[in-house]
C-alpha cells in the first residue's frame, strides 16, 4: 500500500523523493503521529508535500490509496529494507542516486537509519506489530514481504464522517495555469540575478568624505550596498487577435517585469514586427514609434524579449504588404531581422504550448528567424529564456 501510495504520488506529479519518504518513515518511528489515520495523513502531508499547489493532488491520491482505512497499526520497528531499495531503484532520479552515493551509498544510509531506529526502540521498549487484516500484504506482488508492514482496518470508528482529505480543501490552490504572476516574477528575477554586476558593496564616496571630515581627518570609510538592477530590457508584446487568449498571461508578465527592472521599455506589435511599433494600445493609430528610431534610441546592450504566439499567415512574415495592420513596404521578416541584428541578446516567448508548435507553419518560420531562441511561456521556458539572455 505504501508502495503504491508513493508511486501514485509521483504519477500525480507530486514531486516526492526518497529523502522525503525516509523522513516520513523516521517520523513514524519516532511516533510523531498517533496511530490514527488522520494523524498519519497530516504527518504524511507535512513530510511529503512542499508546495500548497500540490496539496489537492496529494489529497486525491491519499483518498484513493487509503480508502476505507481507519487505523494505522503501530509499526514493528523493522525497516523494510528490500522494499525501500526496490522503491529507490524505481523512483530515484540519477541525481538522487548520486546523492545517496555521496552519503556513502545505500548500505550506509540503511545502516544509519537502522541504528537510529534501534535507539528509538530501546527507548520506547518496542512497539506492537503492524496489524493487518486478512493478509493483505502490499508487497507480495513484488516478491517482498517484510513482516507485517500492512495497514489495518478497523470497523465502526466514525466511518461516516467525511475524511479530511476527501474534503479537498486545497482544491483552489492547485495552480496548473501556465504561468501565474508569482512564477513570472521568479523567472524574471533570475535575469536580474545574473545581471547584477560587480561587488555587492560599493564605496560611498560622499559619505566617506563627509564622515572623515567629521572625524577631524581620520579616515572613515562608508559603504553602501549596491543593490540596483542594471539590466535594460525592451519588451515587445503581441496584442493581435489570436493573442487574445494569452493577453492575461502577457499582462502578468508585463506587470511583473515592471517591478523587476529599472530600465524596462515596452512596445506593442501585431503578429510580427514591421516598420513601427506602439507604446499605448489606445493611441496606436496616432503614436507609432518607427523601429529605426527605436534602434537609434536604445543602445545594443538592451536585451530584447518578444512575446507573441507567432501564429499567422506565412504572408504576414515573408511578403510586402502582408501585414494585417496596414501596408508594409518591406516584409516582416526583414524588420524582425533588423531588430535582432541591432540587439544580439534577444528571445521570443511563445504562450502557445510547445507541443503545438510544429503544427503551425508561421511558428516554424519565426523560430528560424530568431535562430531557435523561441521558448514556451512557462516557468521552465522563461527560465531558459532568461538564461539565454544572460549568456
Amino acid at each position: 500500500m505504501f508502495f503504491s501510495f508513493f508511486a501514485e504520488l509521483r504519477d500525480a506529479k507530486v514531486p516526492v523523493s526518497l529523502r522525503e519518504y525516509l523522513t516520513l518513515m523516521e517520523a513514524m518511528q519516532k511516533r510523531v503521529a498517533a496511530f490514527d489515520i488522520e494523524e498519519f495523513y497530516f504527518l504524511a502531508r507535512t513530510s511529503l508535500v512542499k508546495d500548497e499547489r500540490h496539496l489537492d493532488r496529494f489529497d486525491r491520491v491519499f483518498g484513493h490509496c487509503f480508502k476505507g482505512i481507519e487505523t494505522l497499526a503501530d509499526p514493528k520497528a523493522e525497516l523494510p529494507e528490500a522494499w525501500l531499495k526496490k522503491l529507490a531503484e524505481r523512483f530515484l532520479t540519477e541525481e538522487e542516486k548520486k546523492q545517496i552515493e555521496a552519503l556513502g551509498g545505500w548500505e550506509k544510509l540503511m545502516e544509519a537509519l537502522r541504528q537510529r531506529l534501534a535507539e528509538q526502540r530501546a527507548r520506547h521498549q518496542g512497539g506492537s506489530k503492524w496489524i493487518g487484516t486478512a493478509g493483505t500484504s502490499p508487497f507480495g506482488a513484488h516478491g517482498y514481504n517484510p513482516e507485517g508492514v500492512r495497514i489495518g482496518q478497523e470497523e465502526g470508528r466514525n466511518r461516516s464522517a467525511v475524511k479530511v482529505w476527501d474534503r479537498r480543501e486545497f482544491r483552489n490552490l492547485d495552480d496548473t495555469v501556465e504561468l501565474g504572476t508569482r512564477n513570472v516574477k521568479l523567472a524574471l528575477r533570475r535575469l536580474r540575478q545574473f545581471a547584477r554586476e560587480g561587488a555587492a558593496e560599493e564605496l560611498d564616496l560622499d559619505g566617506t568624505v563627509k564622515s572623515t571630515a567629521h572625524n577631524a581627518g581620520w579616515l572613515d570609510l562608508k559603504l553602501v550596498p549596491e543593490r540596483h538592477n542594471t539590466v535594460k530590457l525592451l519588451l515587445f508584446i503581441d496584442v493581435g487577435g489570436s493573442m487574445e487568449d494569452h493577453v492575461r498571461v502577457c499582462e502578468e508578465l508585463f506587470s511583473a517585469a515592471r517591478s523587476e527592472f529599472k530600465h524596462l521599455i515596452h512596445f506593442y506589435f501585431h503578429n510580427c514586427i514591421y516598420d513601427s511599433v506602439w507604446r499605448d494600445s489606445r493611441r496606436r493609430q496616432i503614436e507609432q514609434t518607427p523601429v529605426v528610431e527605436l534602434i537609434r534610441t536604445y543602445d545594443p546592450s538592451y536585451r530584447v524579449v518578444l512575446v507573441g504566439d507567432a501564429s499567422m499567415s506565412p504572408y504576414e512574415i515573408e511578403k510586402e504588404g502582408g501585414s494585417v495592420e496596414r501596408w508594409n513596404d518591406e516584409p516582416g521578416e526583414t524588420w524582425l531581422r533588423r531588430l535582432l541584428d541591432a540587439y544580439p541578446k534577444a528571445v521570443w516567448l511563445n504562450p502557445v504550448p510547445q507541443k503545438y508548435w510544429t503544427g503551425t507553419a508561421s511558428i516554424g518560420m519565426i523560430r528560424q528567424i530568431v535562430a531557435d531562441r523561441m521558448f514556451p511561456l512557462t516557468l521552465d521556458g522563461l527560465d531558459r529564456a532568461m538564461r539565454r539572455l544572460t549568456r
Binding site: V32, A33, T46, K50, E169
Partner: protein, 282 residues
C-alpha cells in the same frame, strides 16, 4: 522534548500541531506558508512559549544576506581602531559580529529560531543557508573556528510566497500551509483574544467578515489580524450587534470598515457590490 499542543493565546489546528511536532522530533526546519495575517510569525512565538524555549528572531529583508545570519566582519571599525592605535586591533576576533544563527547555536538550551519572511531575500538566500541549517555548524574563516550548535535549535521559517524556494531547501523541511481558518476555527481564535465577546456580536461580525472575503476582485482580502482589529474597534466603540445585522441600507458598508478594507479601491468596490446586492434583495 515536549510536544506542542497550542497555547491559551494561540489556536493550533491538528494538522499544524502534527507538523510542528514532526519538526521538533526530527530536528528539521518547519516551513510555514499562508495568507498574510494567518498567524505565521506569531506561531514561532507560541511554540517557544508552549514548550518553554527562548525565541530568537531573524527578520529577513530584501537586502539580507545569508552570511549576516552567521557573522559579519566589521572592517570599518577595525580600520578606525587601527588609526587610533587601539590595542584591540591586533585580534581580528574583536571585529567578528555574531549573527542570529550563531546566537542560536551557542544558546545553552535549544531555542526556537524564527527566520521570518525568507522569501523577501534574494532568490539564492535559502540555498546559501542549506549547509548551515543541515549540519548546524559553520566555519569562521577569519578566526579559523568552527561554530557548532550546542543543541539543534527548532527552526521555523515563514514565507509569504513572493518567490518560490529552491527544491533542495524544501526537501529538508517539513511544510505546513496555513489554510485560511474556517468559521469554527476562527471562532476559537477570536475566543482566545476576546474571551468575553457576546455571542451575537461574534456571529454577526463573522458573517460580515466572511461575506467581505467572498467579494470578488478585492485587492486585499481581510485576514485574521484585520478581523481581530475590527472586533476590537467594535468593542471600543460599543457597537451593538443589531447594528451589524440591520445595517442601514443607506450606509452600505459595515461600521468601522477601515479596519477590514485597507485600501480605497476595495472600499469603492465593496460599496458598489453591496449596493447591487441589497437592491436585489429588495
Amino acid at each position: 522534548m515536549r510536544r506542542f499542543e497550542g497555547t491559551d493565546t494561540y489556536v493550533a489546528t491538528q494538522d499544524l500541531r502534527v507538523a510542528v511536532n514532526a519538526a521538533i522530533a526530527l530536528e528539521r526546519p518547519l516551513l510555514v506558508k499562508g495568507e498574510p495575517g494567518t498567524g505565521k510569525t506569531i506561531l514561532a512565538h507560541e511554540i517557544a512559549r508552549g514548550i518553554g524555549k527562548d525565541l530568537i528572531t531573524w527578520h529577513i529583508k530584501s537586502t539580507t544576506k545569508a552570511q549576516q545570519g552567521l557573522y559579519e566582519y566589521d572592517a570599518v571599525s577595525r580600520l578606525r581602531d587601527g588609526q587610533l592605535g587601539d590595542e584591540r586591533v591586533h585580534d581580528i576576533a574583536n571585529y567578528i559580529v555574531p549573527g542570529k544563527l550563531w546566537e542560536a547555536f551557542e544558546a545553552a538550551a535549544a531555542p526556537v529560531l524564527l527566520i521570518d519572511e525568507i522569501d523577501k531575500a534574494d532568490i539564492e538566500f535559502p540555498n546559501d543557508l542549506l549547509l548551515e541549517l543541515d549540519r548546524m555548524e559553520f566555519y569562521v574563516y577569519e578566526t579559523r573556528r568552527t561554530i557548532s550548535a550546542r543543541h539543534r535549535p527548532i527552526v521555523v521559517i515563514t514565507s509569504n510566497n513572493e518567490k518560490e524556494l529552491p527544491d533542495a531547501f524544501l526537501r529538508r523541511c517539513f511544510f505546513h500551509y496555513i489554510r485560511f481558518p474556517d468559521r469554527t476555527t476562527m471562532q476559537q481564535i477570536i475566543d482566545v483574544h476576546f474571551p468575553n465577546l457576546k455571542h451575537e456580536l461574534l456571529r454577526e461580525a463573522l458573517t460580515i467578515f466572511y461575506e467581505i472575503r467572498e467579494v470578488p476582485g478585492l485587492k486585499k482580502k481581510p485576514s485574521t489580524s484585520e478581523l481581530l482589529d475590527w472586533i476590537k474597534l467594535l468593542l471600543v466603540e460599543d457597537v451593538p450587534p443589531d447594528v451589524l445585522r440591520t445595517r442601514d441600507p443607506a450606509k452600505l458598508i459595515p461600521p468601522l470598515h477601515g479596519a477590514l478594507l485597507k485600501n480605497e479601491q476595495d472600499v469603492h468596490l465593496f460599496e458598489r457590490l453591496a449596493f447591487l446586492h441589497r437592491r436585489e434583495r429588495g
